[in-house]
Amino acid sequence: MLYNEPSPLEVKILTKRFTLPNSQSLDTYLANDGFKAFFKAIEMSPEQIIEELKISALRGRGGAGFPTGLKWSFVPRNSPKPKYVIVNADESEPGTCKDRLLMENDPHQLIEGILIGGRLVDAHKGFIYIRGEFRYLITMMDRAIEEAYKRGYLGKNIQGTGFDFDLYTHTGAGAYECGEETALLDSIEGKRGVPRMKPPFPAVVGAWQSPTLLSNVETFSAVPFIIRDGGAAFAALGTPKNGGTRMICLSGHINKPGVYELPVGFNLLRMIYEVGGGMRNGKKLKAVVPGGSSCPLLKAEECDIPMDFDTLAKIKSMLGSGGTVVLDEDTCMVKFAHRIMKFYAHESCGWCIPCREGTTWLRKMLERFHGGGGQTGDRELIGELSKNMLGRTFCALGDAAAMPTISIVEKWPEDFEAHLNGRACPYEHASEMAMQR
């Protein structure tokens, strides 16, 4: 089901069928181009599939934004070992709530994407790793999978093509770190969700020691369109090297929060003011989390930009996972920084020292600081400790905790000043107002 009104500005590729009656059913899917891409892929050579993906300029939707065609080409298709397809449906990056819509409203599009991935790397088993909180989705996905089996779109000799594929869901149990691809692999093997050393990369040594094609739900869901209508058609929707559309999750202080499918490279200000209906209560824009809590925040004046991977990289932030969180002038950046750090401290797997100890130390400092216990020098220390984590932790979670914090410390010193010498948070009334909405 849909939780917000669509926007006329959307370009509906992945969400094309969302508004159709029982869009989640196989019949609806088949009646609307369903599985055309799969049959096409069966006729194509792996090289041709990779080529289309490369042309499409599809980049990983999980956050890292690595070119999918290239990534999928790393899987040794001819390895004697069994190969696996794994879908990252852990969707736990704060600010992000898109993958669930893709699974909820068009599960067969995802299944078709998975089958094409399987056909590409000669895999015959796939797992969708769905975060434990999404139990209702696991049920829905299981139903869709069952339907596909019944109708011969999964299992042995799919639609007489001679291609076999088995697909299962696998539930997580509450751990953000399990979204990190190698931690996900340990988790699916029944272990603690602790990341693995890279190299070897999952493409070569992944699940159960075998080559593994691992991508995000949105990434897989984009594949059928690319194969059906061609990479060029997909690429054309976005900006150079940033093909297609993106599920943008608008949230925070805006009038029309929601998930919208927009072309990659869509202007951020237009997202907020045209798609998102502008700032709530006519407040001024203060900051934006461009693509999930891991991204360095943008100041209002930095926001007149096209939302694509390269532009955001240029201004030292990230497009991330499409979780665009909008903050208004009444937001206390110290409190916001504290909440982010509280999250990372809670989610740190504990494997490496800087992340384990650093996130907790920073959480405690920011809590004290926001509570009025701040001392001169604390702000600098917070920045310094974050930099002591940055690039030195085992996996990117440490970076994810450090980057937004550093950006806040550097871009909003005045908010820290305002808390010094036991002064209470000057923004305290802000969120109450939110409740009166």
């Binding site: 736990s92 600010g95 992000t96 539930t171 929060p257 809590s293 903050l327 916001f336 982010i340 109450e432």
Partner: protein
């Protein structure tokens, strides 16, 4: 230990689904589904899952404390989970959480005397665009307000 016939069939299928000899992969799902049925993860359950998945109890115990949805103590019949992460924070998640504490008269990870409700402040649950959001057991409730929360809880109280 044995579980309901439905669960037993589910587990049988589950153990089949992973590659040969990889039954350890079933540990976490098994714990999750078993917990839903028996209420919490006891030592007995750990030993049982270890036996079924052919791993040591330690290997099972190791994961229990790692995943925040696995609980060693029983939760309330209704487990109220309030997200206070960024998007919810900006839209009143904290106040919602305070309201829940008042309404239920319990704090974080506590259970009401009658065992009906438990409360937990949780991290982002993937409902950011429809924040503030809460989950009661596995059910999502979007765009929450204090009033909606009270109604929900009163409704559940009556339901018994």
């Amino acid at each position: 230990m044995t579980f309901s016939p439905e669960l037993e069939t589910k587990f049988a299928k589950m153990l089949e689904s992973y590659p040969p000899g990889r039954t350890r992969s079933a540990v976490i799902p098994m714990l999750m589904y078993a917990q839903d049925e028996v209420g919490c993860i006891s030592h007995e359950l750990i030993e049982e899952v270890a036996r079924r998945c052919k791993v040591t109890p330690l290997q099972v115990n190791e994961v229990v404390g790692f995943y925040s949805m696995l609980h060693r103590k029983p939760l309330g019949k209704y487990h109220v989970q309030v997200c206070t992460n960024i998007s919810c924070l900006l839209t009143g998640g904290e106040e919602l959480y305070e309201q829940a504490q008042k309404k239920l008269g319990i704090g974080n990870k506590e259970v009401t005397a009658d065992g009906q409700f438990s409360l937990e402040e949780v991290e982002c649950m993937g409902a950011c665009s429809w924040a503030p959001a809460i989950q009661i057991n596995y059910d999502f409730h979007h765009n929450m307000t204090a009033e909606k929360l009270d109604k929900l809880i009163d409704g559940l109280r009556k339901a018994q």
